[in-house]
């Protein structure tokens, strides 16, 4: 569902069954939407990554891999930023996990201790300007916002 408002804002809603293979499509879509709104490549890729991380968390941890849960994504572009909301009706994200999200330590001198997980939520917090999670009437909401850095217009050839 796509909707534009008179103030230049636009909102999109995407819904899909809780299957990992659908997440890439949603990520590709939000990347393309950010680019269409004038974002630079790095920002569009970062927003895509944040969405993919949140949606993966939903499929794997809220629905525990059960494929018939509903994942709902709302995207709104306004005032030079993008607001993303991912909601599900599965198990809620423990709020302390969000509060304590940070990148796992990397020790180049101890290869066998390198972390193979624990990056996801920390990445979302690093990418987003703001992050919040809540549960309302049986639905879990994860919201994040990111200012859209705009790509440079192409240089005009002289003459």
């Amino acid at each position: 569902m796509y909707q534009t408002d008179g103030d230049g804002s636009a909102s999109v809603q995407i819904c899909f069954e809780s299957r990992l293979e659908h997440i890439g499509l949603a990520g590709t879509a939000i990347n393309a939407m950010c680019m269409a709104r004038g974002a630079d490549t790095e920002t569009a890729g970062a927003v895509e990554l944040a969405l993919v991380e949140v949606a993966t968390n939903t499929v794997e941890h809220a629905y525990h891999g059960v494929e018939h849960g509903l994942v709902r994504i709302r995207v709104r572009f306004a005032n030079g930023k993008v607001d993303v909301e991912v909601s599900d009706a599965g198990d809620a994200l423990p709020l302390e996990r969000l509060a304590m999200a940070e990148l796992p330590p990397i020790d180049p001198d101890a290869i066998d201790t390198l972390p193979e997980g624990g990056f996801g939520l920390a990445l979302v917090c690093m990418i987003a300007d703001s992050v919040e999670a809540s549960t309302e009437e049986g639905w879990n909401f994860f919201r994040f916002s990111r200012t859209l850095a705009r790509r440079e217009p192409p240089q005009q050839e002289p003459g």
């Binding site: 990554l49 993966t56 990397i106 193979e116 990056f119 690093m126």
Partner: protein
Amino acid sequence: MRIDSHTRDGVVVVSVHSPRIDSAVTPQFVQAATTAIAGADSVVIDLSRVSMVDSTGLGGLVGLRKALGPDGSLSIVATQPTVLHLFRLTRLDSVLPMFPSIDAAVEARSSNVPDRR
């Protein structure tokens, strides 16, 4: 998920021909790459065609690096800004050296340039 591999100057080069390494394909990627690098000490993973790696994909790459042991090496070829940014952001570029081309990665490995740059 499609990968291919070849050996060059004693270095196993694994090229990924899919645009994404995410939670949907990482198990396949790890399985295929593990087979391709069996017995190798020096490995280059070519991600130049990959535009998106998520945290699950990162975990898979770290697992491959750990499987090579402390004396092994795993370098990454990446050219896409989003992928480069991810490795810098997570500081994994400190343990998975990044190169702009297969030539540069193999040359560095063949001439024993230290991992950390």
